[in-house]
Amino acid sequence: MIAFDYIRPADETAALHAATERPGARFIAGGTNLLDLMKLGIERPRYLVDIGALDLREVTETSEGGLRIGALVTNAALAAHPLVRQRYPVLSQAILAGASGQLRNKATTGGNLLQRTRCYFFYDPASPCNKREPGAGCSAIGGFNRIMAILGTSAHCIASHPSDMAVAMRALDARVETRLPDGQTSSRTLEALYRLPGETPHVDHRLAPGELITAVVLPPPPAGRQSYRKVRDRASYAFALVSVAAVVSMREGRITEATLAFGGVGTMPWRNRKAEALLIGQAPSAALFERCADAVLAEATGHGGNDFKIPLLRRTLVASLAKLTGGEP
């Protein structure tokens, strides 16, 4: 990796100060993605601010009945947390479906949100990639693109977002809390955290330079059943080809609430409120679920090697909805 300066501040104020003092500084926590990218020369920060000493490792209940998850809570700790397992099983399942035990021990909540795509061409400096080098071109379009996105793509980038955890959080209406360099705090949804590639695929998110994720806040647990279904090429240690996070609530044979989020298919963790709205007030049926899938996939585009994700997402979604609205507990 290219030489860099390193600092490990003791508190948030010092971390924010350090990050603003040097343009181009990057925060590092678990380092499970950033270090790999630095070794490959894809990320070349000149200054790393290690936030490992910050006091952001707690999971606490909020006064509203939700959970505040410190940005440094590891994926392993979060998945195993009793309140997460009891109240937000979709999140626990999603985290455990990702990476490996070793990575989950090291990776953090904030870092997971900001991990970069796993596009093969992004990872190879010898392949043109607009996300790595704006204007260079996209090797995935017209190339091997089995793992790429079908939703939210642009003519400049079709790389999929790799996180499982963020998909579940998006289904749970999580909010991301940050502190800005001037000490102000901010709170936004995941939809507002990420951005679509458009013409600037090198910009993954909307955080300001030096803005630090301090926590993820989950609203009170939703009513109904939750599930995370991840489809992948091997049983463990593979990114999602397609994943479906679903939270569905029923009363008297009709769906009263439904939130759906999708992984492996979007350039960001994907959600489609129109598709969710179709379900509300309806009795579950195969035709209803197909209509919901139609809505999710209305704007989906395959690029050859990933065309299969369209029927795969449809089938996985329909089966997930059938399970969640079915008779079994």
Binding site: R118, A126, D233, R234, S236, P311, L312, R315, T316
Partner: protein, 743 residues
Amino acid sequence: MTDVSVKMDAPFEQSLLDRSPVPTIGKEIARIDGPRKVSGAARYAAEHFPDGVVHGVLLRAPVGCGRITAVDATAALAMPGVLAVIRDERMIRNAGDFGGDAAPVQGVDEVAYFGQPIGLVVADSLERARAASLCVRVSFESAPGVFDMMAARDSALPPTDDIFGLFLIHTEQGDVERAAGEAKFLVDTIWETPSQNHAAMEPHASVAIWQEGRLTLHGSYQSPVVTRDQLATVMGLPPSQVRVLSPFVGGGFGGKLGVMPEAVAAAIAAQQLGRPVKVVMSRQQVFETTGRRPMTHQRVRLGANRDGRLTLVQHETITDQLEGEVFFEPAGLATHLLYAGENRMVDHKVVRTNKQLAVSMRAPGEAVGLLTLECAMDELAERLGLDPIELRLLNEPETHPEMDVPFSSRALVDCFRQGAARFGWETRNTRPGQMRDGDWLIGQGVAAAARGNLFGPSRVRATIQGDGRVLVETEMTDIGTGTYTILAQIAADLLGMPLEQVEVRLGDTNDPRSAGSGGSWGATTSGSALYAACAELRARLAAAAGVPVEAVTLANGVLTAPGISRPISELVGNGLSVEGATEPGESNQRFNQTSYGAHFCEVRVHAVTGEVRVLRWTSVFAAGRILNLQTAISQAIGGVVFGIGGALTEELVHDPRTGKIVNRDLGEYHVPAHADIPAIDIQFLEERDPVANPLHAKGVGELGVCGAGAAVANAVYNATGVRVRQFPITLDKLLPGLPPVAG
């Protein structure tokens, strides 16, 4: 100097291994090198830190075909700690492979494949060398290349070399077209298998040290002596000036047979800088700059009579390789001998592509050839309405169906029968797509395993030291296979010593030259050379005790014979040393020698998504005498896992625009994870093969992979009714044939 040798011109009827009073051979003996491995005392190539060592990182060609026109290292050389950017015409462009001492293709300007090594950056730390390598500017001219083998199939030509006569390029008998026309049942199928990477756990690594004009290389190699000879040629040195050490190797699978680019680069850099140089490949470089199993396009055509007897066996393979390289994937190897049938044709052709060198990978030929042949047999059985095992039993040949020689031993039928009983084959579902457990479709599959048994020249020195301890020395390697342990067992049993009294030293080219690890022949060749040495030592001990050797029993360090009992240590003076050797003889021509097996697999396939998970596995093998049941089972399990990966997940993807390997890491090149593998039940049948060698053993290392993938594919078909003929069977290929999703 060789003292005694064993040449296999005739069966070796009596093996001394059957006469040891306290046998360890055949038992489950834990690896004697295990404690060293788990404690870190076993040092692998990259774990050598000679004084003053510096670190090199290979540079890669950023073009698939063309020429490097300029390399600007100014920025790199200005970085702290950077010592040199070396581009030397002696550097090798293609990896070495098994065989002779010729240099692999050399040069740093002409580019034949994407990622080819074109130089080395050396710095005082790995991190600095790696950073500098990112700052070297490479200019090139690109030329039109051939990157898509399937699209270039029409340019295929016969291979130029039959690889020491081991790979038959083309054989034909009878009239295949007529047989196809007359066959009552015909299966005519086209299959594709992808490129694969060996993906050994330990990446390729070398540490080069020069002292007084002599080169010492710590490297991760399966055959140190082949590496030494090729390295000596490359460097323009006599082999006696080069020493290669590979005492511990973290997996090879054929990917570490000849000299590799990192060794040559390390040797050149160490020579130029006057200090030791270490070059360790990154995982991406292992994928990109070593070797691969080439992709294949295979046509398998089988014809049968109404009674199920084969009348036609035809297997045509097209594979790919760099221009000028001789290796090809001999996918028809087992097709020559597995089943009877009068009209036969096996053919191989090669398309010249601009893609990484194609090399041997575990069971070259059978691994991908049985994958297709055994699936085609499954299709034929269904067409005939026969049980797939019954079809195979009907076509069991009495002698080699093409060469009119007997089999030295062949227990394929027993493997099927015993495997069927262990697995519960008779209770399986025979109608595809009809067995379901909730969301999962369940299926069972079966396939045969066969792998040729080879014998070659190998040498081992055995010494009974003055204190009675035994020392075994040979250049042979243990690449995770168990060589240390089985050689210690052979010496212990034949010399009557407790296992703990035997020390084995491996992987040093200063020791007697072996056949190396490859082709499943390491155990039998080095073991037989050791057998010869130990037999001679027994004779010398008997002579020293003044008794005929036939009357002697050696056990627990004591020689006994009628009227005499003496500690062996008293009979050896300052020590007795004998070098044993093997020589191939007429038995190789007079008999076909092959190890066999039968795989049984149960899978479940998710009816919604097409995910395939292997649920249950049984394999039964017959491979002659099993030297160590524990390490043999480990080998067999590893082979089956290889087969499962080949069937379901492993595919090295080349960019059709550049030939570049797209998925160059273990995150995206999917070898099976633990969660993909069920408990694997392995049984070895009791068998002896006196034709093969004095041990009566045959090769085990590659047998497990042979046919294993076909059992998986047949089970997937049985579960779903979907036959996928492009491997690997990923879920996208199954989706169109799956039942509709019930809301």
